[in-house]
């Protein structure tokens, strides 16, 4: 089959998504590169993926569980509940920060080779996913320690992992594209991540939020994700708050649509601006 490529100003690639599929191999290669480089020249290597969430869990448990004496979800041990929140939060925040800086970190590729640029930010999420799986092993150990058995709900967990991925990639696409043009956004991300840890129900259960504010609170897409994680892992100690979940999914979908749209419009000028 002869391949014909037409290059024109402002031309929308008609088969952009097909092209994305053709370049899936590059996606694999970039994800694999990020993974193999991630813990090179570190002494304890992959242990970092275990230590960080573990320490965060300890601090949050002490502050919110011991000092502030907030209630847990049902009978679940407080540390377990916190950890079930940290898992998706770390996944989200790592994904968001890695993806947001991805274009700039790959400036040399962008200015020298063609490929659908969407590959770069999405490939970095694989790194976050692997870190997530590693820290998931801590959760299993903790559940064994507390002799806590999850219910059938655990089978739904992949759905919420996907939701966390979508929640991070949407805004990340927008920010990474803006980052190419205006480097200011590099400083926005650490702030969002730090701030988000406290406005999302990571260290506490979302049940402490007064009923009349619950829906508004769910505007933060991570509220739905974290609640979902706890529902799956803690075996439905507390029912899922459906309107809130729907709201979080809605916000995520909006950001995803918006992020992809903005990314696609700015994509063509990346090589000139980076």
């Amino acid at each position: 089959m002869q391949h014909v490529i037409v290059i024109e100003a402002g031309r929308r690639e008609r088969n952009y998504w097909l092209d994305l599929w053709r370049y899936r191999e590059l996606f694999r290669v970039l994800a694999w590169r990020d993974l193999s480089v991630r813990y090179k020249q570190t002494v304890i290597g992959v242990l970092w993926a275990l230590i960080r969430p573990l320490l965060t869990m300890l601090v949050l448990t002490i502050i919110f569980g011991q000092i502030a004496r907030l209630p847990s979800d049902g009978t679940a041990p407080y540390p377990l509940m916190v950890f079930a929140g940290i898992l998706p939060w770390t996944f989200f925040s790592t994904g968001l920060s890695e993806a947001s800086n991805s274009l700039i970190n790959n400036a040399n590729l962008i200015s020298k080779v063609y490929f659908p640029r969407l590959i770069v930010p999405t490939a970095t999420v694989v790194v976050a996913l692997v870190d997530f799986l590693i820290s998931f092993s801590i959760l299993i150990l903790m559940m064994a320690w507390y002799q806590y058995l999850p219910g059938w709900q655990i089978l739904v967990l992949p759905v919420f992992v996907l939701l966390a991925f979508l929640a991070s990639i949407g805004p990340a696409l927008w920010i990474t594209a803006l980052n190419v043009k205006y480097r200011d956004f590099r400083y926005v991300i650490p702030f969002i991540v730090q701030f988000g840890l406290y406005v999302s129900p990571v260290g506490f259960s979302s049940s402490v939020v007064p009923e009349q504010w619950r829906l508004l609170y769910s505007l933060n897409p991570m509220v739905g994700v974290i609640d979902g994680f706890r529902w799956c892992i803690l075996g439905g100690q507390r029912g899922l708050y459906a309107p809130g979940l729907a709201m979080s999914i809605g916000v995520t979908a909006f950001f995803l649509w918006f992020g992809i749209r903005r990314f696609r419009t700015m994509e063509k000028s990346f090589a000139d601006l980076i």
Binding site: Q2, H3, V4, I5, V6, I7, E8, A9, G10, R11, E25, L26, R28, V29, L30, R33, S36, V37, K40, Q41, N108, L109, I110, S111, K112, V113, Y114, F115, K181, Y182, K268, S269, A271, D272, L273
Partner: protein
């Protein structure tokens, strides 16, 4: 007659450039002036961000055409050379053809898969081993993992790095690095191959091997190749046809020999001040504290063999730089260096520049040893012995003409170095 594989129709590309007004006076402004100007700039940038436009540094914004109304066709299996001065638009053209950047106007139709090699070792990761980088680089250039595995041994033996396959490439010598990178690229199998000045690096023997490989690719396998180089020797031996870009426009298109001759005659620079800051560098170094700005001839042009030369190099620093050494070099048009002058040879004269600003250094050569011919001038500087700051190979071409003492009967084009030394005749007196 084979069909056109590449059709380029009135292709143009413009960029926005920012300038600072009153550049020279910039360092002795009062604080009030600085604040007023920064506030003005900030407002402009804020409006740009708001409207989603590009942020441009500086006070004035100028539109700059990197490529203007360029049209040509390339037939299947043709090897087309692209020549032109630095900044003439060659790289922009290749970037548009490789779909890295979008044209402002015009249209290109490409029939077939395109692979472009605009840089040696694109995407190489210093922490990864040679073996891993082969897969990474191959993937970046568009090879499937299966293709790479099939050609892996061939790539390794072409690069001659068998022993170091499992060493991170950050420990490679620069020669090994280039060999490995080119070896991967040489085994690509696209219908159209686009190659930018990648042979400028690497040792002569390997360059020859690469040229041979490229010749094989085009001649035996019938691929279409676009090849940019400053190396006229390589262009002449590889490409039957060339296009010549000059100031963003197409100046010539046709058989290689006559166009190269015309280009060389045209390329010779007789301007008393060479604006180095306008010339794009083949690679920018990470450390950009120092930029070469211009070269000013204090003695008259053209240069004469055996006569004194005086020149001043202006450069700008953004921050304090220690142990600055600056040098100029003369190379043949094939890119082989013939003559080098450096501030730190032989007395180790380097200087530290604590304050940002525009500075200059004067060079004085008592007697230019270059024999009459056309040469490329390279300018570069570094900090300490090996830390590069800025380097512009082939910044301009210069003609050296015979001086009053050059033996007149020698043919004019006779490149090389012709020096004075002591001779002692012992002749019989009857």
């Amino acid at each position: 007659m084979p069909d056109a594989v590449i059709t380029v129709e009135s292709l143009s590309k413009s960029y926005l450039l920012g300038h600072r007004t009153g550049e020279q006076a910039r360092y002795n402004h009062t604080l009030r002036d600085v604040i007023a100007r920064e506030a003005h700039n900030f407002t402009r940038k804020a409006i740009d961000v708001f409207r989603g436009r590009q942020v441009v540094q500086g006070d004035e914004v100028e539109e700059f055409w990197a490529l203007k109304n360029v049209s040509f066709e390339v037939k299947e299996g043709e090897v087309l050379g692209i020549i032109g001065r630095n900044g003439a638009g060659k790289s922009t053209l290749l970037k548009i053809l490789s779909r890295i950047t979008e044209p402002t106007n015009g249209r290109v139709v490409l029939q077939g898969r395109v692979a472009s090699l605009l840089e040696v070792g694109t995407g190489f990761h210093p922490e990864l081993t040679g073996r891993e980088n082969i897969f990474l680089n191959g993937g970046v250039l568009g090879m499937t993992q299966r293709e790479i595995r099939k050609k892996f041994d061939e790539i390794v033996s072409f690069a001659e790095v068998e022993r170091f396959l499992d060493t991170p490439v950050k420990r490679y010598s620069s020669g090994m690095y280039v060999r490995l990178a080119f070896a991967v690229a040489a085994h690509l199998e696209p219908e159209i191959l686009i190659i930018d000045e990648v042979l400028a690096v690497g040792d002569a023997e390997f360059q020859k091997k690469c040229l041979g490989k490229m010749d094989e690719v085009s001649r035996r396998e019938g691929r279409t190749v676009l090849f940019v180089s400053h190396n006229m020797g390589a262009i002449a031996s590889l490409c039957p046809n060339v296009i010549w870009l000059d100031h963003a426009s197409l100046r010539g298109h046709g058989a290689t020999r006559p166009i190269i001759d015309e280009y060389l005659a045209h390329k010779i620079n007789l301007e008393p001040v060479v604006q180095l800051n306008r010339i794009s560098r083949p690679h920018y170094f990470q450390d950009d504290r120092l930029r070469l700005e211009s070269l000013e001839w204090l003695s008259s042009l053209p240069l004469r063999h055996g006569e004194p030369i005086k020149a001043r190099i202006h450069f700008k620093t953004r921050a304090s730089v220690a142990d600055v050494g600056i040098g100029i070099g003369f190379s043949t048009l094939e890119g082989r260096r013939l003559l080098t002058y450096e501030t730190d040879f032989p007395d180790g004269l380097r200087t530290s520049i604590p304050h940002p600003g525009v500075h200059s250094v004067d060079i004085e050569i008592d007697s230019l040893p270059l024999a009459p011919d056309v040469y490329d001038l390279d300018v570069g500087c570094r900090s300490g012995d090996s830390h590069p700051l800025d380097y512009i190979p082939s910044a301009i071409s210069l003609e050296v003409i015979p001086g009053p003492n050059t033996p007149g009967h020698i043919v004019r084009k006779d490149a090389g170095v012709r020096l004075a030394c002591k001779w002692d005749w012992k002749c019989k007196k009857k």
